[in-house]
């Protein structure tokens, strides 16, 4: 288990407070019915894209809103750039909020303002003079590729364009931190990719730190550097995205990961396999290739070395943050002893191997 005890977590948060841009320490918040946050500590390092993933009701939305204090935690600490936000009065908090951009699932654009005027709103609120405002708005609109839609109204835009306006607006005050509240959940898959790549590109160009919440592991895989998995108001797992994807420690995390990189056996795949030779046993294995041996010809080597048949039923090869990994489902046929040796050898190379025979027998659970 990678779940940190509250004590350890608090210690980690305190250590990180110095170098992290955002440091949350032992946040607790409960509503009338239930606890939304049950002791959450997190540190988001500068320049990172940090994802918080969880099912609906896990507390992610509350957690994100605690960073700019749209929600006040019942207890705990919120530090931004070393500053304790919970001690600020209303005016000081508003000043801090101007340095935090926020992007919303439903865009939250003002329907009666044009694209340019929507982007100008934060500048207006901050008292930026009109001339400087329009120069900055033009700059922002070209940054998100919407220079030609300045005069349009939100109702005339597609979802992806609306979110670009939302992003431009969030960046108007040159924030160091961008909060994304399910920023792509209302968008179709193609537009989602477009917006995610835009966010990553902006992070690189503007040295932003991004904290996003999502219920989709695909979003985490696409752009996050680090991820925390939230369940019932607690962080159950957290770490570098590649590590969490390739070595999930908690069953909930494993389920999340399986949504994106799980090897689903094609319907009836097992039935179409030729019957195993007499005297051999068949195991259905899921092999996860990651790390230094990810590119090695493990399957053919194992087949040669141990004299077993490895029949690939399903698989995918992918990369997370540039690091390659692959997942294969194979039917391994051979004498029981050889099969054991082969799997031990593969584990020795650092590959993760699960026997999925039991699961494979039940069609509904094939995705696992």
């Amino acid at each position: 288990m990678n779940a940190l005890t509250p004590h350890v977590a608090a210690h980690v948060a305190a250590q990180d407070a110095g170098r992290a841009l955002v440091s949350l320490r032992d946040l607790r918040k409960s509503y009338a019915s239930a606890a939304a946050l049950d002791g959450v500590s997190l540190a988001v390092a500068r320049g990172r894209i940090f994802g918080i993933v969880g099912r609906s009701g896990a507390g992610k939305s509350t957690l994100l809103r605690c960073v700019n204090l749209l929600e006040r935690p019942d207890s705990g600490q919120v530090h931004l750039d070393g500053q304790d936000l919970l001690t600020l009065d209303r005016a000081a908090l508003n000043t801090v909020r101007r340095r935090i951009g926020m992007v919303f699932q439903h865009f939250n654009l003002l329907a009666r303002r044009s694209v340019a005027d929507n982007v100008a709103l934060p500048l207006e609120l901050a008292g930026v003079p009109a001339a400087a405002r329009s120069a900055r708005v033009a700059e922002l609109l070209s940054l998100v590729g919407l220079a030609d839609r300045a005069g349009a109204y939100p109702a005339q835009l597609s979802g992806g364009q609306k979110q670009r306006v939302g992003i431009a607006r969030a960046l108007a005050g040159r924030p160091s931190l961008l909060l994304c509240d399910e920023a792509t959940s209302a968008l179709d898959p193609e537009t989602t990719t477009e917006i995610l790549l835009l966010i990553r590109d902006l992070r690189d160009r503007l040295s932003l730190t991004v904290l996003l919440i999502t219920h989709e592991m695909a979003v985490v895989k696409a752009i996050c550097d680090e991820v925390a998995v939230l369940e019932r108001g607690r962080v159950i797992e957290q770490g570098r995205v590649f590590d969490v994807f390739t070595r999930p420690q908690h069953p909930t995390t494993a389920n999340f990961v399986a949504e994106v990189i799980g090897t689903t056996l094609p319907d009836g795949a097992l039935g179409r396999l030729p019957a195993p030779q007499p005297g051999t046993q068949r195991r259905i294995l899921r092999i996860l290739f990651a790390g230094p041996h990810a590119s090695r010809a493990v399957i053919s080597e194992a087949s040669r070395e141990f004299g077993i048949d490895l029949n690939i039923i399903a698989g995918r090869v992918d990369a997370i943050g540039g690091a390659p990994f692959g997942v294969l489902a194979v039917a391994a046929d051979g004498p029981p002893g050889r099969l054991m040796q082969a799997t031990a050898w593969m584990r020795g190379l650092g590959l993760a191997i699960d026997a999925i025979d039991a699961i494979a027998a039940e069609p509904a659970a094939l995705a696992a």
Binding site: N68, L70, R90, L93, N94, T95, V96, R97, R98, I100, M102, F104, H106, N108, L110, A111, R112, R113, L121, P122, E124, L125, A126, Y153, P154, A155, G173, L179
Partner: protein, 219 residues
């Protein structure tokens, strides 16, 4: 023309009185109703300045005024009317109860229009560091504008109806003319003209209001 010149003068005066009562009462109702509606909305449980006591008291007062039939409200507040308008009879005096009734009426309509502004817009403004006043001036009122205009239209139309009762306190106006001449003096042609005029006025206001709402909403 089959109306005597005297009757034509009476009609013109009555139309002017109705216009004065309706427009003055509406002006006061809008000026007083918008801040009250904002207060009601802001102090609501999900508002930007939660305050249960203020919210409840204001709500009760508004509802109390709205539940009194206008004809009774008019006579019930006669002392107040006299203090404000200097007299309790006449067109000016009739404006006082009309304005009070219209304010209570429009507050609820304004409140509904303000409540229809997506909560997410307020949250977005808060995230930008907007003050509560800025949220009102930059988000709530402008985004609710189509709903506010629709509320004003409905209030104007209702005021035309209410103003017909102003005859009870000597307020004059078209409705009063219709009752006194058309009904009590058996002049059906006066009644017909009054009714046609009122129908035209109400239709005109509604059409203009709807057109304005369409023009300013960007949905």
């Amino acid at each position: 023309m089959w109306l005597t010149p005297a009757m034509q003068d009476l009609l013109l005066d009555a139309a002017n009185e109705t216009a004065l009562m309706v427009l003055a009462a509406a002006g006061i109702a809008i000026a007083a109703g918008l801040p009250l509606a904002l207060l009601l909305q802001a102090t609501a449980p999900d508002g930007i300045a939660r305050h249960a006591a203020v919210n409840r008291v204001l709500g009760v007062v508004v509802n109390a005024i709205r539940s009194v039939p206008f004809i009774i409200l008019m006579v019930a507040i006669v002392p107040f009317t006299r203090a404000v308008a200097g007299s309790s009879i006449g067109t000016t005096a009739a404006i006082v109860p009309l304005a009070i009734a219209a304010t209570a009426f429009i507050v609820r309509l304004f409140e509904t229009a303000l409540r229809d502004v997506d909560r997410g817009l307020v949250e977005a403004a808060q995230a930008m560091g907007a003050t509560r006043l800025q949220i009102v001036t930059h988000v709530l009122v402008p985004e609710a504008a189509p709903g506010l205009v629709a509320a004003i239209t409905v209030t104007l139309v209702s005021l035309v109806g209410y103003s017909a009762m102003a005859g009870a306190v000597g307020g004059g106006g078209l409705g009063d003319l219709g009752i006194r001449f058309g009904y009590q003096r058996f002049m059906p042609e006066v009644m017909a003209i009054v009714v046609v005029l009122l129908v035209l006025v109400v239709q005109g206001m509604q059409t203009l209001g709807d057109a304005l709402v369409r023009r300013i909403s960007r949905k």
